[in-house]
C-alpha cells in the first residue's frame, strides 16, 4: 500500500509538471513584435512624475523617419498603466526644439504676419474593428493611395473598406495639448476625394484666429483670463479685438486656438512637459468609453497599435513605429 501511495504521488507530480510545462510553452510564440505591458495600478497616476509610473516597464519604441525625415530615427520611451476604469500612456522622446508655434501671429509694428514654425505631435492608431493585416504590417497598410491620385494628399491615410475601423489618437503640442486633450479621431476607408480620417462625435479641434480677409487676428485674450500652457490662447478665453492700436511691435497671438472638446471627441486627456530637450506626454482614456468611434479595451485581450511622431511638422512628414502589442498585466 505504501508503494502504491508513492507511485501515485509520482504520477500526480508528473501530471502537475506536465500542466505547468504546457502553460509555459503555450504562449503565442514566433512573432518578433515589441510588447508594451500595461501595469495594473490601484490609484491612477496624477501626473508625469507620479510614483505609479515606476510600476510600468518601459518599452523603447524605435521610429523610422519618413518623407522629409527619411533616413533618420527616433526613440520613444513608452509606458502604460491601467486602473479598473482607465488606461494611461506615458511617452518621452528627445526633441531639440519645442515647436508650438503653429503659424502664430506676430506684430511688427505695422502689420500682422504668421510666424514660421509648426508643432510637435504624436499619434497612436488602434483597431476598432480588425483592419486587415494591421497586426503584421502596421500603418503601412493604412497608407496605400499612390502619389498623384486625386486624393493623394488628403487621402493617403485610410483603410481599405468601411468595415475596417481604426481609432486614431492625435496629440498636438499647440492645437490640443493646451486645452488638456489629445484629439480623438477615427479612421475609415478612403474615398475618391477624401482620406479616411474622421473626428469623433462631439465638438473639438481648433479654430482659426483671423479676420475675414485673413490678414490679421480677430481675437485676443479676454480680460481676467490667462493664457494656457505654452502661451497658447484657448478659443474659450478669447474675445474679439476692439482696438488694434493697443498692440506693440513684437506682440504675438495664437493663430490656431484650441477649443475645449465635448462628447466622444473629448475622451483622451493629456498632460505634457517639455524640459531638457525632451518631451514627456501622458495620455489617458477610459478603458471603454462606450462610444463606437473608440476602441474598447478589454484587459484580458491583446491589442495592436502603431505610432507616428511629428517633429515641427504640419503634414504627414513623420517618424513611424512598427506595430507594438499592448497587453495588460494583472
Amino acid at each position: 500500500m505504501r508503494k502504491q501511495k508513492k507511485t501515485s504521488l509520482v504520477m500526480f507530480l508528473v501530471l502537475a509538471f506536465g500542466i505547468v510545462f504546457m502553460m509555459n510553452s503555450h504562449e503565442v510564440i514566433g512573432a518578433s513584435k515589441q510588447t508594451l505591458s500595461a501595469a495594473k495600478v490601484k490609484k491612477a497616476p496624477a501626473g508625469l512624475n507620479d510614483p505609479a509610473w515606476k510600476k510600468a516597464k518601459v518599452a523603447d519604441v524605435h521610429f523610422e523617419g519618413k518623407e522629409s525625415f527619411a533616413g533618420k530615427n527616433a526613440l520613444v520611451a513608452t509606458k502604460a498603466v491601467y486602473t479598473d476604469q482607465e488606461i494611461y500612456f506615458l511617452f518621452s522622446w528627445k526633441d531639440a526644439n519645442k515647436s508650438v508655434t503653429k503659424g502664430a501671429w506676430a506684430y511688427d509694428g505695422q502689420k500682422w504676419q504668421h510666424q514660421k514654425g509648426n508643432e510637435d505631435r504624436i499619434s497612436l492608431l488602434f483597431e476598432i474593428n480588425r483592419i486587415n493585416n494591421f497586426a503584421t504590417k502596421g500603418c503601412a497598410i493604412t497608407c496605400h493611395v499612390p502619389d498623384g491620385a486625386p486624393n493623394a494628399k488628403e487621402g493617403k491615410f485610410g483603410t481599405a473598406t468601411a468595415a475596417e475601423k481604426g481609432d486614431l489618437w492625435h496629440w498636438k503640442a499647440a492645437r490640443s495639448d493646451p486645452a488638456g486633450f489629445a484629439d480623438d479621431t477615427w479612421l475609415t476607408n478612403t474615398s475618391e476625394e477624401k482620406g479616411g480620417r474622421k473626428s469623433d462625435a462631439g465638438k473639438g479641434g481648433d479654430t482659426r484666429n483671423m479676420t475675414g480677409d485673413k490678414s490679421m487676428p480677430k481675437y485676443m485674450l479676454a480680460p481676467g483670463k490667462m493664457l494656457a500652457k505654452n502661451g497658447i490662447l484657448l478659443a474659450s478665453d478669447a474675445v474679439e479685438i476692439k482696438d488694434y492700436s493697443a498692440f506693440k511691435a513684437g506682440d504675438t497671438l495664437t493663430y490656431r486656438m484650441p477649443k475645449n472638446p465635448e462628447g466622444s471627441r473629448a475622451d483622451i486627456k493629456a498632460q505634457s512637459n517639455y524640459a531638457n530637450g525632451s518631451w514627456t506626454v501622458m495620455l489617458s482614456r477610459n478603458l471603454d468609453t462606450g462610444h463606437d468611434d473608440d476602441v474598447a479595451f478589454n484587459p484580458r485581450k491583446k491589442y495592436n497599435f502603431a505610432m507616428a511622431l511629428f517633429d515641427d511638422s504640419g503634414d504627414e512628414n513623420s517618424y513611424d513605429s512598427e506595430v507594438v502589442t499592448l497587453q495588460f498585466k494583472r
Binding site: Q4, K5, T7, S8, M11, V14, L15, G18, I19, F21, M22, M23, S25, H26, E27, V28, I29, G30, A31, S32, R130, N132, N133, A135, T136, K137, N298, R300, K301, N304
Partner: protein
C-alpha cells in the same frame, strides 16, 4: 398452470420505464457489473481522466461551433468574439485548448503505465492496439484544429506541416491536395479542416473508443501484477465507480476552468500569408519530430519525416505481438523495458534539444 400464473403476474405488474424503453437488460447488466478492486487502485485514474477530458472536449468543441465561421478572416473574428465577448467564452475555449494538451499528456502516461505493467499481454492485445490507434488520430485533430482560429501561429504551423506531408515520396503531393482541397491554404482548405475536425475525426474517434471499450468489456481490466487476496474483492461499477468518475470529472472541469479563466487560451494575430517575419515554433508534442526532420537532410530527409516516425508507430502497434509472453512483471521483462526506455530517452532528448533550440 405455472405458466399461467407467471403470465398473470406479468400483466398485473406495471412495467418500469426501463422496460418500456426496452433498456432493462442493459440497465441490469450495468447494475450488476462488478470490477475487481485489485484493478482499481486509486492511482489508476488515467483512463477515467481521459474519458472526462474527452467529454469536455466534445462539449466545448460542439458549443464553440455555434460561433464559428470557417472563412479566412471571419474565422479569426468569430473566434475572437467567442473568446472575449461571450459569457464563459474564455472558459469554453480554454477548456478545449488546455483540455487537448492535457489529453495528450495523460494519454502518454496511460500508455506508459500500460506498457510498464504489461497491460497488453494476452488476452488484452487488442485493448492496446485500439488504444494506440486512438493516440495516432490525435495529431490529426490537432493539425486540423490548429488552423481553425486562422491566426498567425495556426496558419504558419499548417504551412510547415503541409510541406512535411509533401516531402512524403509519391503520395505526398496528392495527400496535401486532398486534405487542402486544392493547391493553397484558403477557404476550401479551412472548410475541409473544419469538417474533418468536427465531424469525421470525432466519428472515427468514437468508433475507435467503442472498439477499445469493447475489448476492455470482453477481456476485462488487467489486475494487479502481484495477485493477492485483495484482488479477489469486487466493487460494483454502478454507482460506486461511476461516482468516482463523476468526482474526477468535476475536479478536472474546475481545474481547467480556473486555468482558462486565469490564462485565457492564446489567440495570436490574424493570419497574414504574406508576413515573412513570423516564425512558427513547433509545439511541445511535436518537438522530437521536428528535430528528426532537421537532422536528416537531402536524400535522407525521408528518414526523418516518414521512415523513423512510421517505424516507431508500427513498433508501438506491434508491441503485444513482439513481447507476446504472458509474463507481466516488469522485473522479468527487463529487455523489453530497457529497449523502450532507450527509445523514450532518445525521443525525450530530441524534444529537449528542440525545446532549447526553438523556445529558449
Amino acid at each position: 398452470m405455472r405458466a399461467k400464473t407467471l403470465n398473470n403476474t406479468a400483466e398485473k405488474r406495471p412495467e418500469s420505464l426501463w422496460e418500456k424503453l426496452a433498456l432493462d437488460g442493459m440497465v441490469m447488466r450495468l447494475r450488476t457489473l462488478e470490477i475487481y478492486s485489485g484493478a482499481l487502485t486509486w492511482n489508476r485514474f488515467f483512463g477515467s481522466l481521459l474519458l472526462a477530458l474527452l467529454v469536455l472536449l466534445f462539449l466545448s468543441g460542439a458549443f464553440m461551433a455555434f460561433y464559428y465561421s470557417p472563412a479566412p478572416g471571419y474565422a479569426y473574428d468569430s473566434v475572437d468574439y467567442a473568446l472575449f465577448s461571450l459569457p464563459f467564452g474564455d472558459a469554453i475555449k480554454g477548456i478545449h485548448h488546455y483540455g487537448w494538451n492535457l489529453f495528450l499528456i495523460v494519454m502518454g502516461l496511460h500508455l506508459a503505465r500500460g506498457f510498464i505493467v504489461g497491460a497488453y499481454k494476452p488476452p488484452r492485445q487488442f485493448v492496446w492496439v485500439s488504444g494506440v490507434l486512438i493516440l495516432l488520430i490525435v495529431p490529426a485533430f490537432i493539425i486540423t484544429g490548429d488552423l481553425l482560429p486562422w491566426d498567425q501561429k495556426g496558419y504558419w504551423s499548417t504551412q510547415v506541416r503541409i510541406s512535411i506531408m509533401k516531402s512524403v515520396p509519391w503520395v505526398g503531393d496528392i495527400m496535401v491536395q486532398l486534405v487542402q482541397g486544392g493547391p493553397m491554404t484558403g477557404i476550401v482548405a479551412l472548410t475541409r479542416f473544419y469538417v474533418l475536425h468536427i465531424i469525421f475525426l470525432p466519428c472515427l474517434l468514437v468508433l475507435l473508443l467503442g472498439i477499445h471499450f469493447h475489448f476492455i468489456w470482453q477481456r476485462g481490466l488487467c489486475g494487479l501484477i502481484s495477485e493477492d487476496n485483495s484482488s479477489k474483492i469486487t466493487v460494483r461499477f454502478f454507482p460506486f465507480i461511476f461516482n468516482r468518475w463523476l468526482v474526477l470529472f468535476l475536479c478536472v472541469t474546475l481545474v481547467l476552468g480556473f486555468i482558462s479563466w486565469y490564462w485565457p487560451a492564446p489567440l495570436g494575430d490574424p493570419a497574414d500569408p504574406t508576413d515573412s517575419t513570423f516564425v512558427p515554433k513547433p509545439e511541445w508534442w511535436v518537438l522530437f519530430l521536428n528535430q528528426l526532420v532537421s537532422i536528416f537532410r537531402g536524400p535522407w530527409s525521408v528518414f526523418g519525416s516518414v521512415i523513423i516516425p512510421g517505424g516507431l508507430t508500427a513498433l508501438l502497434i506491434a508491441v503485444p505481438f513482439i513481447d507476446s509472453s504472458s509474463e507481466r512483471h516488469p522485473a522479468r521483462r527487463k529487455i523489453t523495458l530497457i529497449i523502450a526506455t532507450i527509445i523514450a530517452m532518445v525521443l525525450l532528448t530530441l524534444s529537449i534539444i528542440g525545446y532549447l533550440e526553438h523556445h529558449v
